[in-house]
Symmetry: C2
Subunit: 158 residues, 2 copies
DNA sequence: CAGAAAAGCTTGTAGCTACAACTATTGCTT
DNA sequence: AAGCAATAGTTGTAGCTACAAGCTTTTCTG
C-alpha cells in the first residue's frame, strides 16, 4: 500500500471553488495510489508506462509524434523523452523518424508493448470500475466527465 | 509555462469509466500546471508548500500531527517529513511534540507561515476561479465536488 | 509484568519529473 | 538566397516523492 487511508481532515482553502479543487486533488491522488498499488502488486510496470502504451495503442498506426504524445499525457517534452527511452530499453516501443520533417521523431508501439498493454488493461479497468462504478451512475459519470473537460479547456485557454 | 497547451488527442482506455478517469487526470494536471506557473511567476514557493500552509491554517491551534497531515494531503509520511523539514528551514513551520505520547510530533504553523499563506492565497484563488467559475455554475460545482468525494471514499475503502 | 506486536515518525536510497540550455531542422522575411 | 525566428527533440541538473528499513514509544497478550 502507499501508506494512505482515508482523509479525515476535509478542510479546504476558503474559496468558492477551493472545495471542488480539494476534492479533485484528493480523489486524483487516491485513485492514482490505488492504480499504482494494483499494478506493482501484480508485478507490472508503473502507471506512466500504461498511459503511454494505452495512448499509443489508440493512435493511427499505433504511433505518435513525441510532442503530441507529451501533450496527450500532459507532461513535459523533456520528461517524455526519458520516459520513452525507458520503454524502448524494455523493448516495448521503437523510435521512428519522419521522412518529410527530420526534426520529428515518433514513439511507435512494438508487439511486445501491445502484448503488455493487453495484460495490464484488465487490472486498470478493474480498479477504475471499483472506484467509479460503485458510487456513480452512468449519467453521473458522463456529467462528471463533461464538467471536467470544460474545466480543463478553460484552464488551458485562460 | 510548463510546456503544456491543449490536449488534442482525447483518446482513452476502452472502459466505461476510462473516459472519466482520463478527464480527471488531464484536468488535474492542467490545473496543477496553471497553479504552479502562477505561483512561481509570482516568486512564491511551490504548490505543496501552499497546501501544507493552507491545511494547517484551518486546523485547531494551527497544528496537526504528522500522520494526519500526511493523510490530509494524500502523500506518504516519509515524504511529508522532508517537506516539513524544508518549511521549517524556511522559518514557516515549527516542529512541536506531544506531552502524553512521545511518538507523535506536530507540524505547527508559525507567524511567518501564516503571513506567507495570506500572500499566496489570492494568487491561488484567482487561478481556481478562472478554471472553475468560467464554465461551471455553483450547482454544478457542488455536484462535482460531491461526486468526487464519493469516488474518493470508494477508492479508499474498496 | 515481561515480551511481542503495533503505532508514529525519520532516514537512506532510487527513480522520476520539471526546468533550462542546447542542437538540429524548418519556415518566414526581405 | 541569406539571416532570423520558430519548431521539434534531447540532455544535464536539481529537486521532489515513494519505498523500504530503521528507531523509539506505546499497547496488547498470556
Amino acid at each position: 500500500m502507499r501508506e494512505m487511508e482515508q482523509a479525515t481532515a476535509t478542510k479546504s482553502p476558503r474559496s468558492s471553488h477551493g472545495e471542488a479543487w480539494g476534492a479533485l486533488t484528493r480523489t486524483h491522488a487516491a485513485i492514482t495510489g490505488r492504480l499504482q498499488e494494483a499494478l506493482t502488486s501484480a508485478e507490472f510496470p508503473p502507471l506512466p508506462w500504461y498511459e503511454v502504451l494505452a495512448t499509443l495503442s489508440e493512435a493511427p498506426e499505433e504511433r505518435l509524434k513525441m510532442g503530441d504524445l507529451a501533450e496527450a499525457l500532459v507532461i513535459t517534452r523533456g520528461g517524455l523523452t526519458k520516459l520513452v527511452d525507458r520503454l524502448i530499453k524494455a523493448g516495448l516501443l521503437e523510435r521512428t523518424f519522419c521522412e518529410t520533417d527530420r526534426r520529428v521523431s515518433y514513439a511507435t508501439l512494438m508487439p511486445a508493448g501491445h502484448d503488455l498493454l493487453d495484460e495490464m488493461q484488465p487490472v486498470v479497468v478493474a480498479e477504475l470500475d471499483v472506484a467509479f462504478a460503485a458510487k456513480l451512475t452512468a449519467a453521473e459519470a458522463k456529467t462528471l466527465r463533461e464538467a471536467l473537460d470544460r474545466i480543463r479547456d478553460s484552464a488551458c485557454g485562460g
